[in-house]
Subunit: 86 residues, 2 copies
């Protein structure tokens, strides 16, 4: 084992109250190709971070809030994953 | 119960062999704010689809391949979720 990396996934989505034009465009495109049953689509960002040593939860929250998302229009979710081989 | 919606999450990520400049930029930004232990960052798309009636798995695969991702440079993952109240 050369070194285990800790994986953290951060999902950044537009808030429910915020219009998501990219999602609307995808929904319309899906309807156009015959997927009539699609109700709504929202498009966000998916970030896969790998750490040599995991940062504190507080530090990670701070980074998500200040750097990775725009809290005015976006919500974020942090998912911790078990270590992966480097 | 007005109607249950089926949620499907599609994660579209740049392939491992493809350079991800957005990810590199985020990694450098994280290092700049003091998160020295970050090893790599990759940035992809996260799509949340809601269906009134779920499409077939084959149809969904087809849509991910042809519409939601660029198979030359991107990989996709489909996650099925239990029904959510409408």
């Amino acid at each position: 084992m050369v070194g285990a990396l800790m994986k953290v996934h951060v999902i950044v989505m537009p808030k429910q109250s915020v219009l998501d034009p990219q999602g609307v465009a995808v929904r319309n495109a899906l309807k156009d190709v015959g997927l009539e049953t699609v109700e709504s689509v929202r498009v966000g960002k998916f970030l896969e971070l790998e750490f040599k040593t995991p940062p504190s939860e507080m530090k990670l929250e701070e980074i998500c809030r200040d750097l990775l998302s725009n809290p005015v229009i976006e919500d974020y979710t942090i998912q911790y994953h078990s270590t992966a081989e480097a």
